[in-house]
Amino acid sequence: DQQVKQNSPSLSVQEGRISILNCDYTNSMFDYFLWYKKYPAEGPTFLISISSIKDKNEDGRFTVFLNKSAKHLSLHIVPSQPGDSAVYFCAVEGMRFGAGTRLTVKP
């Protein structure tokens, strides 16, 4: 019963371009959404979050967009850097994670 889905297992972008990672959720009652970043052999680290009262939240190069009617959120990274290469997870209810998207940023 996946309550949060990340349908793209991987994404490859060129350095300097935009990376867009997507996430869909099933329950319209969810009101807080988080993105985490994970490097190999490390635990996930919190990246950015958004509350359902907003439709956008920005932190430097990272912006999260929330479309409540579509039950969809996306993470934009601009410009993408090689150090952004990692697995990105979206999460709902503070603790339920999607399957992750592996981002590779090529120099």
């Binding site: 807080y32 988080l34 985490y36 052999a41 490390e42 635990g43 996930p44 680290t45 919190f46 979050s49 697995v87 997870f89 999460a91 209810e93 503070g94 603790m95 339920r96 994670f97 399957a99 992750g100």
Partner: protein, 112 residues
């Protein structure tokens, strides 16, 4: 001074053995969690404790028993280990339930 630390980092053991993984957080958080990341890389919640009380138990076999002696510690004991238990186990904590999580670096468990 790592915020969430778990030991050991690697654990290799035989089927049928009993093993424990320890977790400690020095963030003063009220809520702690155990996650399992399987071979398909899904990060699945197993348990959550709030102030030493179990609040979430996600259909985990009862061979897995979490223990929280105080709110800074959440240990995971696994009895009669099976091949399918091989995974990376992550401990995490949050200020309260629903808040962002702080993760340990994981314990790679290999059951032979």
């Amino acid at each position: 001074d790592t915020a969430v630390s778990q030991t050991p980092k690697y654990l290799v053991t035989q089927m049928g053995n009993d093993k424990s993984i320890k977790c400690e957080q020095n963030l003063g958080h009220d809520t702690m969690y155990w996650y399992k990341q399987d071979s398909k890389k899904f990060l699945k919640i197993m348990f959550s404790y709030n102030n030493k009380e179990l609040i979430i138990n996600e259909t985990v076999p009862n061979r897995f028993s979490p223990k929280s002696p105080d709110k800074a510690h959440l240990n995971l004991h696994i009895n009669s280990l099976e091949l399918g238990d091989s995974a990376v186990y992550f401990c995490a904590s949050s200020r309260y339930r629903g808040e962002k999580l702080f993760f340990g670096s994981g314990t790679q468990l290999s059951v032979l």
